[in-house]
C-alpha cells in the first residue's frame, strides 16, 4: 500500500477499543477506591494502586453476603471445564460413529442430535426443571453441568472435520491393521487438535457465562457461580460494597478473557470455520 499512515483507520479502531475498555477500566479503577466514595458518586477514573484491599476482601469473605469469591470462581471453573471437556468428548464419539460407520437408525440418531439446535434451555425452562427434580439432580454439580453437555454444534463441527479427512488416511490406517478405536485415538484426534483447541475456548466461555441454567437448578449458595454471585451482589439495595463488587467483576472477567486472548489464533479460525 502507500506509505502514508491511515489516520482514519487508527482513529476509528482506537475509539472502538476504548469503547470496549472503558467499562472494564472503570471497574478496575473503582475496585481500588473507597466504597463510600463510590456510593456518593465520586468514582474516579484514576486507580489508587496502593489500595487493592477489595480483592482479598472479596476473595476471602465474599461480598454482600455471598459465598467467598474464590469459591464461586472455583465452581465456575469446574463448571466451564466439565462442560467443555464433556461436550468435546461425547461429540467426538458420536460424530465418529455417524461418519465412519453404518448402523441401524444412523440417520435418526443424527437428526435427534441435530434437533437440539432448536431447543435452547430458555424455551424449555419448566419441563427441564421437572425432569431434573425427578432425577434428584437439583442442587448438584451433576445437575449444573450434565444437561449442558449435550448439544448439536460440537457434533456438527466434528462431523464436518471427519468428513474432510482424506480416504487415503483411513485406508493406510486399515492396512496397518489399526482397529476403529486406535484409528480414532492415533489418527483422528491428533489431526483435529487445532479444532479441538478452538472448540475448547468457545465451550469454556459458554460454560463460564451461563446464567439462566444455574439460576434455575442450583439454589444452594454453595453452587453459586461467579456470574450468579455478582448479579446477586448488585441486587442488594442498601450499602453496596462497590469496590468489592468491582473487584469481583474484574475477577469474573479475567479467566474467560485470558483464555480467549491467549488462544486467539485457534479460536478465531475455529469460530469462523465451525459456524459457517
Amino acid at each position: 500500500m502507500n506509505g502514508r499512515t491511515d489516520w482514519t483507520a487508527h482513529a476509528v479502531l482506537a475509539l472502538g477499543a476504548l469503547l470496549f475498555a472503558l467499562p472494564v477500566w472503570l471497574a478496575f479503577a473503582g475496585s481500588t477506591q473507597d466504597s463510600a466514595a463510590i456510593a456518593r458518586g465520586d468514582l474516579s477514573l484514576l486507580p489508587n494502586l496502593a489500595n487493592l484491599g477489595a480483592y482479598p476482601r472479596a476473595l476471602i469473605q465474599g461480598v454482600m453476603g455471598t459465598r467467598p469469591v474464590w469459591h464461586m470462581l472455583l465452581v465456575s471453573l469446574g463448571m466451564a471445564a466439565t462442560i467443555a471437556v464433556g461436550k468435546i468428548a461425547i461429540s467426538i464419539l458420536s460424530a465418529y460413529a455417524v461418519v465412519f460407520f453404518r448402523f441401524p437408525f444412523r440417520r435418526t440418531a443424527f437428526w435427534i442430535i441435530f434437533v437440539t439446535l432448536m431447543l435452547p434451555v430458555e424455551v424449555r425452562i419448566i419441563p427441564t426443571y421437572a425432569v431434573m427434580s425427578d432425577l434428584g439432580l437439583i442442587n448438584s454439580f451433576t445437575g449444573l453441568t450434565m444437561p449442558l453437555i449435550a448439544s448439536a454444534t460440537a457434533t456438527l463441527l466434528f462431523r464436518q472435520i471427519f468428513l474432510a479427512v482424506p480416504d487415503e488416511l483411513v485406508e493406510a490406517a486399515r492396512m496397518d491393521g489399526a482397529g476403529p478405536l486406535r484409528f480414532l485415538r492415533d489418527v483422528l484426534i491428533p489431526v483435529s487438535a487445532a479444532n479441538i483447541a478452538a472448540l475448547f475456548v468457545i465451550l469454556f466461555v459458554y460454560g463460564w457465562n451461563q446464567y439462566l441454567w444455574p439460576l434455575l437448578v442450583a439454589t444452594d449458595p454453595r453452587l453459586d457461580t461467579i456470574v450468579i454471585g455478582i448479579v446477586r451482589m448488585i441486587g442488594v439495595e442498601s450499602q453496596t460494597d462497590w469496590s468489592a463488587v468491582m473487584a469481583t467483576a474484574m475477577l469474573a472477567l479475567l479467566p474467560p478473557v485470558a483464555v480467549v486472548v491467549l488462544m486467539q489464533r485457534w479460536f478465531v479460525a475455529g469460530l469462523a470455520e465451525g459456524e459457517k
Binding site: 499512515t5 487508527h10 479502531l13 472502538g16 477499543a17 470496549f20 475498555a21 467499562p23 472503570l26 473503582g30 463510590i38 458518586g41 468514582l43 461429540s91 458420536s94 460413529a97 465412519f100 460407520f101 435427534i112 442430535i113 434437533v115 432448536m118 431447543l119 430458555e122 424455551v123 424449555r124 425452562i125 419448566i126 419441563p127 425432569v131 450434565m146 444437561p147 449435550a150 456438527l156 464436518q160 471427519f162 468428513l163 480416504d167 485406508e171 486399515r174 476403529p180 463460564w208 457465562n209 451461563q210 446464567y211 439462566l212 456470574v227 448479579v231 448488585i234 441486587g235 467483576a249 469474573a252 472477567l253 474467560p256 480467549v260 486472548v261 486467539q264 469460530l271 469462523a272 459456524e275
Partner: protein, 293 residues
C-alpha cells in the same frame, strides 16, 4: 456427503453415539415433549388435577394484550440489538481490514469482549449508566437530561439494548473481518482502477460480497438478542420498570418460575420453540445447509 471408506460392525458405533443420545433424550426431547403436552393442559386452581384443554392456553395467551405487547417489544429489542451491534462491528471490521500498523493489537482489543458473560456485561454497564454511581449516568443530569432508568422505561430499554449490543460486537467483528479478508484483492483493485471511490466501492462491491455473512450474522444476532440476553436484562432491570424491558424469555421465566402458571408458561415455551425452529429453518434454507452438507 458420505464417506466411502468405513469400518465394519454396528455395536461399537451404537455404543459411541449412545451417551449423546441419552443426554439429548433426557434433557432436550423429553422436556420439550412435556412442554408441548402441558401447553394443552389446564391445572385446576387447587392443584387437584389437570384437564385437557387443547389450544385454550394459546388462545388465552394471544388474547392477552400484555403478551402481544411483549412479542412486539421483543421484536423491537432484537432488531435494535442486531442493527446496533452489526453496524458497529462492520464499521470496525472495515478499518481493521486495512493495511495499518498494529492491526493485530487492535483486533485483540475488539475481540476480547466475546468472553464477557451477558450478565457481567450488564454489571459493567451499570458502572457506566447507574444514576448514582455510573460515570455517564451521573453526568447526564448536569447537561440537562433527567436520567433514571429505574423509573423511565424508555431509558431502561435503551440501557439493556446498549449492554446487549456491546457484548455481541466482537462476535460480529470476527465474522465480518473474516468475510472482508476473503474478498479477493483483485476485485477491489479493479473497482479502484475503474474509479470507484471509498464509500461507493464499499457499497457496490464489498458489501454485496458480504451478503451471506451478513445474513448468517443477522440470524445469530436475533437468536442471541432473543435468548442469551436474559442475564443482561435480569441483572439490569428484571424486566422493569413496568415491564418496559420484559422480553419473551424474561416473561416465560417470570410466569413459570416466579408465578408458577404452568399452562401459560408451557404455551409460551412452545411459541418460543416455534420461533427458534423458524429462525433455524431460515438459516439453513438460505445458507445452503452448511452444517448438514
Amino acid at each position: 456427503m458420505e464417506r466411502r471408506t468405513l469400518f465394519e460392525g454396528w455395536l461399537l458405533p451404537v455404543l459411541l453415539v449412545l451417551p449423546q443420545l441419552a443426554l439429548t433424550g433426557v434433557f432436550f426431547l423429553w422436556p420439550a415433549a412435556a412442554a408441548i403436552r402441558s401447553s394443552a393442559m389446564l391445572e385446576d386452581p387447587f392443584g387437584l388435577g389437570t384437564q385437557f384443554v387443547a389450544l385454550q392456553n394459546f388462545e388465552a395467551l394471544f388474547a392477552d394484550p400484555l403478551y402481544v405487547q411483549t412479542i412486539l417489544r421483543t421484536v423491537v429489542f432484537c432488531a435494535a440489538v442486531s442493527a446496533l451491534s452489526m453496524s458497529v462491528a462492520l464499521g470496525l471490521a472495515v478499518f481493521a481490514d486495512r493495511d495499518i500498523r498494529g492491526r493485530v493489537i487492535y483486533r485483540t482489543l475488539v475481540i476480547w469482549p466475546y468472553a464477557v458473560a451477558p450478565a457481567l456485561a450488564a454489571v459493567l454497564w451499570l458502572f457506566l449508566l447507574d444514576p448514582h454511581i455510573g460515570l455517564i449516568g451521573r453526568a447526564l443530569p448536569r447537561i440537562g437530561i433527567a436520567w433514571d432508568p429505574r423509573i423511565n422505561g424508555g431509558q431502561a430499554f435503551l440501557m439493556v439494548v446498549l449492554a446487549s449490543a456491546w457484548k455481541q460486537v466482537s462476535y460480529n467483528f470476527i465474522f465480518f473481518l473474516a468475510g472482508l479478508q476473503s474478498v479477493p484483492r483483485s476485485v477491489t483493485e479493479a473497482a479502484r482502477l475503474d474509479g470507484a471511490r471509498g464509500w461507493r466501492r464499499f457499497r457496490t462491491i464489498t458489501f454485496p460480497l458480504l451478503a451471506p455473512t451478513t445474513f448468517f450474522l443477522l440470524i445469530v444476532n436475533l437468536v442471541y438478542a432473543a435468548f442469551d440476553t436474559f442475564g443482561t436484562i435480569q441483572a439490569l432491570t428484571q424486566g422493569g420498570p413496568a415491564k418496559a424491558t420484559e422480553t419473551l424469555v424474561v416473561k416465560v421465566y417470570r410466569d413459570g418460575v416466579v408465578n408458577v402458571d404452568l399452562g401459560s408458561s408451557a404455551a409460551q415455551s412452545v411459541v418460543l420453540m416455534a420461533g427458534v425452529i423458524l429462525l433455524t429453518a431460515l438459516q439453513f434454507r438460505f445458507l445452503g445447509r452448511r452444517n448438514t452438507a
